[in-house]
Every structure is written in C-alpha cells, then in structure tokens.
Subunit: 367 residues, 2 copies
C-alpha cells in the first residue's frame, strides 16, 4: 500500500510512522520540511512535486494548517489518482465541505496530539485508542470509505463515522467551549484576587484551567474555523449560567441541579466506555456511491460504534456485501436500522470474535 | 496545649491527628461520632458535654456542616474560655460574620479535603502545603491570631490572612465558579452529542469536568452559603463569554485573546509558587485589639504571604513586638506598608533563616 502525506508535522509524521511500522506501507511525503521527516523515519521519500508524491497512492492524508487546508485539499484532489481515498485531519469539518462533493474525499479528524507541534514530536503510537472522526457524505464512494476506516484501525485509532455538522457541534462542546471557559476562569480568578496571592488550591482549579491560553496561534485558528458552532455552544452555556445566577439571587437550592450534573456526568462516562464484545452484521448492498456512508452515518447517529468493517464486491461489481462489527448489546438495533434503510441483513453472528485479519491491508492493500 | 475539636469529621479528625502527632497536643472531641474518632486516634477523649470539651482549651476548631455552623460557633463562644482562640473551617466566611465581633474568634478555611467526608478519611497530612485562610477583623485579639497562625503552620498548612469579603470573592472565582462551569460543560456536551457516542477525548474535557456533579448535598450547601459572591462571579464570567461570542459572530480573530489568557495563566502560576527564601521583619506594636489583624491584612491585601509570625509582649503588656517572615523579594515593600500604617519597623534581617523554632508551641503552648 502506498500512503501519501501532504504536510508532515506532528499528525502527518505520526501517520507515516504508524503506516510504515504497523501496515508495512510505503509512505511518501510532501512538505517543505520533508527531508527532516525522512531523517526521522516518518516517510520513505520526500517529494518536491505534489504529483510525484501522489502518483499511485492508495490513500492521501492532508495534514496542513487549517488556514491553507481547503485550498490544499482542492489541489490534492485535482492531482490524486482516481482510485485514491483522500482525507484531511482538520479540527472542523465545515472547512472542507467544498471537497466533500468529490467521491474520493472523506473528511477526517483524529482526536490526538494538538499539544505539541512538528514532526520532531511525531510518534507511532499517537493514535492508539484515540477517536478518529470520519465525515462521509452521500457522494462518498463506499469502497474508499471502507479502505480508510480499516487503514485508521490499523494505525491504532478508533474510527467513528459522524455527520460533518454534528462533528463540528460536538467538537465545539467537548473541546472548543472548554478551552474558552478555561480562559474565562483564569481571567475571573485574577480579577477576584486583585493583588492577593493565589491559594495553594487542590487540583480542581488547576485541572479546570490547564488548557487556558494553550498555543495561541493554533487555537485562534481553531476558534475561527468553528466560529458558528462555537458561538451556538456559547448561547447554550450562557443561558444555563444565567439560569444558575437567577436561582442563586432568588435564594433557590441548587442541590437538585448538582444532582442532575452528577447523573449527566455518569451518562457521559458510561457512554464513553470501550466497545467490549462485538457482533458481526452482514448486509447486502448495491454497489453505488452513498450506500456505505448512508449505513454508517445512520448507525453513528444512533450512537452505535463500528469497530471494524469489510466490503466485498460481487464479481460483476454491481452488488456487494458489507460486514460491520458493532457492540454486542446494540446488534439487534443496528440490524433493524439497516433493514429500515431498505438493505437486506444476510446474517448475524453474535459470537464474539476478532475482526477480519488485517493481513490483507498490511500485504499491500489489494482490496 | 489543649485543642478542642467540635465536629470530628474529615477536617476535625485530621486537625486532631496532626495536633496530636506533630504538636503533642491534648485533643478533645465533641461529636455524636466522637467515640469512633477516639478509636481512630484522632482525639484523646470524647465528650458529651460541650463545656467539658472546651474546658481549659487553648484553641477550638469548629468543624461542623455549614447549615449549623453559625449557631454552633455562637454556642462555642458562649462556653469557651476567655483565653481560647476559636476558629471555624467553613468554606465561606460571611456565614460566621456574626461571630467575628468576638475578639477570640478568627474565621478560618483550609483548602483541603472536601472530596471525601467522615472521620474514617481523616489523615495527619491532610493540610500539608495547603493554604489555610484566616479572616481576622479589627476586633480580633492579636495574640490569639498569632497563636492560631503558628498552630496551623505546625499542622503543616500555609496560613494566609485575608479579608472575609475578599475570601468569599476569591473562593467564588477559584472554586465555586469552576464547579458550576463543570456542570454546564457536561450538560452542553450531552446536548451536542444527542445520541452520538462521546469521543475518546484526550484529558482536556475530562479534566474540565472532573468535579461536575460532585457531592450534591455538600455542594448545594456551598453554593448557597456563598450565593452573593458566586452570582457576582457569574456576572463577570457571563459578560466575558458574551464578548467572545460577539467576536466570533463578527468574524474577529481571537488569537490575541488566547495570548492574553496564556499571560494570565502564567501570572497565576507564578504568583502561586512557593514562598522560597524569607526575610524577618520586626515591628513595634501597641498591645490593643486589631493591630495584628490590621498589619497582616494589609500585607495579605498586597499579596505578601506571611510564612510565620511571632508576637512578644513587653513586660507590662502595654507594648509588644511582632516578627513577621515574608518573601525575600517583598521585604522592602512589606516594611514600607507596615511603616505606612504608623508602626515602627525595628529591624530587618534579610538573611534567609528558618522561622523561630516551634518547640515552644510543641512543649505546651505557654505563649
């Protein structure tokens, strides 16, 4: 398998290291600092010409800063092979909405490694256990989505398929809003202290403000890239804070509100637990764009995680079969959802067993 | 030295353990569960009669829940010896403002151990390195404030003298507001996720929401006890979040705001560093109520930490001398502030040396 990495920094370099060592892939790099990436073993070869880097690639990762992302993705799609899957690693997906009309493109976002930048911090294990969001659309080609999904699993990540708008809304809530709030907490604390020495607090204030002021150039760009969803998240947060303030001034008791927060936190923690035992679900699908995205997005929307998938086209390529591995406890629901989309569920195997061997991919990606 | 502990839970029990083992004090307890505290070694004796527990005490710690705190402090002050210093450990100081008119009373608040309750979690080292706020007033007797300050240092804490109102404002900002915000972040995340599975995020969201929904009964009471200062803190936070939201919707760049947050966080971290080398400052003071509180509050207001102090009355008790240990780099400023209050600075010793031996206190508290 040939992997091209456009932009070989922390993320691109880590993709290269993991693809080489875990998937035995040939990795090509396109970056002003590609020579350094070669020296570090993150890529096999450095290319000055984008076309050379992309020639014959099975998968292309665009891992450039958010301000040049949309343009770079467009250029890559012009020059990439027709059979290549192209993805990006930007932290918001509306940035690359334009590219999403190309059947070869799948927006991506690994939740890993924003704290240190540069290929010098790249690590083979950067994505181990990390959620890697994928945002296919109705035009996405199913075989390419499946190839990328399995490639990411091979890198150690947990791919999760999600609608691009939902992705941006979720990231606003679980990442961008907490960063904004950390900044505000620091500012409020300094204001309250006046000249007083800050107390030797326990870990709670330190934890709540650990990311305050993180990487200003990077985070300025992230806030801007997701400004609509973040402003909406602020609407919700401000409204809730106003309610709490009104209750305090009315002399109301906030114990039951604190109780609700405990219940909500438990729900989040429990929902975030690992997938555990999985069941295989096999589905007959017509071989046309959008089908795989449709199925996987429907399951994603229901909170059903797909830990692995495998697509087998029929000999005449008109028809195919997709195997999906979903959590044991959600298999019935997943089967019903897929059937509801009009696809035939061929078989279900509730026995817990490992996903299909990844030897196929590691041996060269002939899928 | 005899220490009485009224309410022998996590905090009271830890005071007992540390006072016994580090200061060789005799510790008496008054609590429905005092027998268990005796069994755990937190106190020497359990008393059913409050007067018995307080009889002959040099220092009294009132460590009962916030809803009965004001009443308990009032009762203790009625029955405590005239020579005893009485303090509480409540998380807001406006709760005990009524008691603050008694020259024996000094409001207190150790920033330690709110996470687990009960004498079964009491530890001798609970206060090691923790800030322990003290809120003396103009009526507080200086010798008693000094006794308490040194006692707390002996327990392992870092006493910090602060105005009661400032205390409540600071606690709203560094503790109560972060708890409110953690609840709101959890609520916003669940709302954004809808049915989606939460991502395997890095530590930032987990850290920011670790305290969400913590101990509802306890925190309901804490919010209520500091409702005015917390509502004011919410005013500030909401205003700042509204500004950020407006900038996002206007298409403004938030990089410089993120930069400011980085600078603010650094200022907080640097201000919170340990005291390092200290200088001794000796000041002649008239022996009347309020003088010590006046000096120590003035230094506290300027952010100058007093790591230790010692008060030596003149033989006729009309005059005295107080020695204060302050950070090396702030000694000139501290001397100027004290002189500005009209007191004579007798001597300054810039040599770094350990504070006065605590043997005096450990040998029985004859001060």
């Amino acid at each position: 398998m040939i992997v091209a990495v456009v932009g070989v920094g922390l993320i691109g370099g880590s993709v290269g290291l993991a693809a080489r060592s875990r998937l035995d892939a040939t990795v090509r790099g396109f970056d002003p600092r590609a020579d350094e990436a070669v020296a570090r073993g993150a890529i096999h070869s450095a290319h000055r010409d984008l076309g050379d880097a992309l020639d014959g690639a099975d998968a292309v990762f665009v891992a450039v800063p958010v301000d040049v992302l949309a343009d770079t993705v467009a250029t890559v799609l012009e020059q990439a092979p027709r059979s290549a899957v192209v993805t990006d690693v930007g932290s918001t997906k509306r940035t690359v909405l334009g590219a999403a009309r190309d059947p070869r493109f799948v927006g991506g976002h690994p939740l890993a490694g924003s704290e240190a930048a540069g290929v010098e911090h790249a690590r083979e294990d950067l994505f181990d256990g990390a959620t890697w969001y994928l945002t296919p659309t109705a035009t996405t080609q199913g075989t390419l989505l499946e190839r990328l999904h399995r490639l990411l699993t091979g890198l150690g990540a947990r791919p999760a398929i999600i609608d691009a708008d939902v992705h941006d809304r979720v990231m606003a809530a679980v990442s961008h809003l907490p960063h904004v709030v950390a900044n505000v907490l620091v500012s409020r604390a300094l204001d309250a202290l006046g000249g007083e020495r800050p107390p030797a607090t326990g870990p709670s204030f330190r934890d709540a403000t650990r990311v305050a002021g993180a990487h200003p150039a990077l985070w300025g760009g992230i806030y801007a890239a997701n400004r609509d969803a973040l402003a909406d998240a602020l609407d919700g947060a401000i409204a809730e804070l106003e309610t709490v303030r009104a209750q305090l001034r009315d002399g109301a008791d906030l114990t039951s509100w604190q109780d609700q927060a405990a219940i909500r936190r438990r729900a989040l923690v429990e929902a975030g637990l690992g997938p555990g035992a999985t069941s295989e679900l096999r589905v007959a699908v017509p071989n046309r764009p959008g089908v795989i995205a449709d199925i996987t997005l429907t399951l994603g929307r229901a909170g059903i995680n797909i830990s692995d998938m495998a697509l087998s086209p029929s000999p005449d390529n008109s028809q195919g079969e997709i195997a999906l591995w979903v959590p044991d406890g959600r298999a019935d629901e997943a089967a019903a959802l897929v059937a509801g989309l009009g696809f035939a569920v061929i078989a279900r195997d509730d026995l817990t067993r490992p996903p299909i061997s990844r030897a196929r991919m590691a041996s060269g990606g002939q899928e």
